[in-house]
């Protein structure tokens, strides 16, 4: 019972809970308390220290920028102006780091009169929200925009969350409105009208995931078969290695341009979504090298004992590959695929940013160009989301690897 719980938690990447489970079952308390400290308390402490350092750094930047703003105001409008700006900045700072109130009661709007409320979102009946910012236009004008503090980032996270719900409500009502009309249009052989409004942050995440999976699958279907063939034949390895050596280090940007050249030519007469095609092919081409190299290496370095067994049994070439070579090189192939997926996710952001295809990359870039008060905080939120998704993807791959691979304890 206990052991199977531990095995499952380990499998889904929650291995750090092991000492807690053991402690609950009253097993070796002293050792397990030490383990809890090492695996849970110490990491949490490091997170707290990280947030603290981030906060003080952000504060220092904010203060230095506000000092120069106040000085500038003094130069232009004298002490009185300086005092006014200083006051605005002070109150804006409190609000920026303040609370984000999400409520169903319109009476909560009164909270905006307090000095420590960033915004209030009141739920409407259709699932949408009314958002009122705590910052006055004057405060918005004077507040310095720099590295956001953890609290601002938290508020930006809520802003994005509420925005997602608003967009979702919009989409639902749009669907309702156009339902009858679309029915008629489809019956008349016309295309249905689709929602073309602004995408929410969650939509951007979905688009990015779709692109990265398409790219990953492309890499898988190109790199694994080629890797196997190359790994099996010394001649091919020699003749193809220059391609790998030369193209592996090429920057994602160049791949993007190359793919753009080819795809725009091929799709010149088509009205399909070329930016998606371009970005997923580029992602696939950038990320497939790790899998290609690892597969070839895995196939070429299968334990000679296994090969000898296959030889003695006179297995046919295809049997030899499926029964011996592939299973034996699976651990290395999977290591390659894990690297491929993480590289794909990493270059995806840059590629979306450049290709102007929708997704997290273009979200980050648009926010940066936008330059609103909370743009920087939204970028930091996106950064964490990107990091967490990348981490989750790697865990998923590790999980699948654990299921398929015969080697134990792969980390």
């Amino acid at each position: 019972m206990k052991d199977s719980i531990i095995r499952i938690t380990k499998m889904i990447g929650l291995g750090f809970l092991e000492p807690v489970i053991r402690l609950i079952h009253k097993e070796d308390p002293q050792k397990n308390i030490r383990e809890i400290f090492r695996k849970i308390i110490a990491p949490i402490a490091s997170i707290i220290i990280f947030v603290f350092l981030w906060n003080s750094g952000a504060n220092a930047l904010f203060n230095s920028l506000s000092t120069s703003k106040i000085e500038k105001a003094r130069d232009v409008g004298g002490d009185k102006e300086a005092e006014r700006v200083a006051k605005l900045i002070q109150s804006a700072k409190e609000k920026l780091n303040g609370e984000f109130i999400i409520s169903e009661d319109p009476a909560d709007l009164k909270a905006l009169e307090n000095n420590n409320v960033y915004a209030v979102a009141i739920a409407k009946e259709d699932g949408s929200y009314d958002i009122k910012s705590g910052l006055t236009p004057a405060e918005k004008k004077e507040v310095p925009v720099t590295l956001p503090s953890p609290f601002q980032t938290k508020n930006a996270f809520y802003t994005l969350l509420i925005d997602y719900k608003v967009v979702r409500a919009n989409k639902a009502s749009f669907k309702e409105k156009t339902f009858e009309m679309n029915k008629k249009r489809v019956a008349n052989g016309k295309k249905a009208i689709t929602y073309t409004g602004r995408p929410s942050f969650v939509d951007q995440i979905k688009t990015s995931l779709k692109t990265v999976f398409a790219g990953f699958l492309l890499a898988l279907f190109i790199a694994v078969p080629i890797g196997i063939i190359v790994g099996l034949s010394k001649t091919l390895r020699g003749s193809i290695s220059w391609i790998i050596q030369i193209f592996k280090p090429v920057s994602p940007v160049v791949w993007l341009l190359l793919v753009t050249m080819i795809v725009t030519t091929l799709l010149r007469n088509s009205d399909s979504d070329s930016s998606f095609i371009i970005s997923f092919i580029s992602v696939g081409l950038c990320s497939m090298w790790a899998t290609l190299v690892n597969t070839a290496m895995g196939v070429a370095s299968v334990n000679t004992d296994y090969i000898n067994v296959a030889e003695v049994l006179k297995l046919k070439p295809l049997q030899k590959i499926t029964k011996v070579v592939l299973p034996a090189s699976l651990p290395l192939i999977f290591t390659g695929l894990r690297i491929t997926l993480s590289v794909a996710w990493m270059v995806l952001i840059a590629i979306e940013l450049l290709a102007q295809s929708p997704g997290l990359g273009s979200f980050v870039w648009e926010e940066f160009q936008n330059g609103a008060n909370d743009s920087n905080s939204k970028i930091i939120v996106a950064m964490f989301v990107i990091g967490l998704i990348g981490f989750a993807l790697d865990r998923i791959m590790l999980f699948i690897q654990g299921l398929i691979s015969f080697e134990k304890e792969t980390i």
Binding site: N308, V309, K314, A328, L330, F406
Partner: protein, 268 residues
């Protein structure tokens, strides 16, 4: 050359199973050719169990892998029942020093891999019965659905023995199959091996470093000279009755003479 009267009784057909004629192996090196084996002649009769001892690096394993067809022959000839060998094949089963089971397969699947190949026309049930029979013989009935990576090395080598016997080879080649095991497990596995062999009587050639093992298992112990240019140095017939038990052999008068003979050769 080394035939005694007892041997005539034991191998009634007297048919030559494996014939090594003027066998030669050369490895080219930057400093010129390195001759591992030269002028190596050995005849092995049907149903005979041969053990080969010699110093490390003298070319025993090279010779065995040449018989298996895994290593090219530089000169001379190897024939099985009169016809020259061409590459590896299931008529010469091999038990390697490392168990070399496929770790991603169960023990049953490991044995089945060879059985499927050798009995392509048997029904599923027949194939399964063959596998189970041999796994039972080596005492692994309880682990047929365990993955090879989940069992101990001794158990893996048991499965290796089952796999080799299950394909019914004409010749069984064993390359220090128990070299990596502790002495207790080694003793057990020698018993398992000789037990299965007594039933099947497959011509066997086994390399070993262990003098006692060589005497216990063999009809003849072949001693190889040290390399380079290794060849057969001496052959000792072991005339104990079969089936043998370890205890009876240790108490036999000839045992220490045989042992002394072998050790004298090795220390020479």
């Amino acid at each position: 050359m080394f035939t005694g009267h007892k041997e005539m009784e034991r191998f009634p057909s007297n048919e030559v199973m494996l014939d090594l004629i003027d066998l030669k192996k050369v490895y080219p090196t930057p400093k010129g050719d390195y001759v591992v084996l030269e002028n190596l002649n050995l005849q092995i009769k049907k149903e005979e169990f041969i053990t080969i001892i010699g110093h490390s690096g003298c070319g025993k394993t090279t010779m065995l892998s040449m018989i298996a067809g895994l290593n090219e022959i530089s000169g001379g000839k190897i024939s099985v029942l009169g016809s020259s060998i061409k590459g590896p094949g299931p008529d010469r089963g091999v038990i390697f020093q490392a168990p070399s089971l496929m770790p991603w397969l169960t023990t049953l699947e490991n044995v089945m891999l060879g059985v499927k190949k050798v009995y392509p026309h048997a029904t599923k049930k027949q194939k399964l019965d063959i596998c189970k029979y041999y796994l039972h013989k080596v005492g692994m009935d309880n682990a047929i659905n365990k993955r090879a990576s989940d069992i101990s090395q001794g158990e893996q080598q048991r499965v290796g023995i089952a796999r080799a016997f299950a394909i019914k080879p004409k010749v069984l080649l064993l390359d220090e199959p128990f070299g990596m095991l502790d002495s207790l497990t080694r003793g057990q596995l020698q018993d398992v091996l000789i037990d299965v062999w007594n039933k099947e009587k497959i011509t066997a050639v086994m390399i070993t470093h262990d003098v006692d093992e060589a005497i216990f298992l063999a009809d003849r112990v072949v001693m190889m000279t040290s390399g380079p240019r290794a060849k057969i140095g001496d052959v000792l017939s072991i005339d104990f009755e079969r089936p043998r038990t370890r205890k009876a052999i240790l108490e036999h008068d000839d045992y220490y003479n045989y042992r002394k003979h072998l050790i004298d050769f090795l220390e020479h």
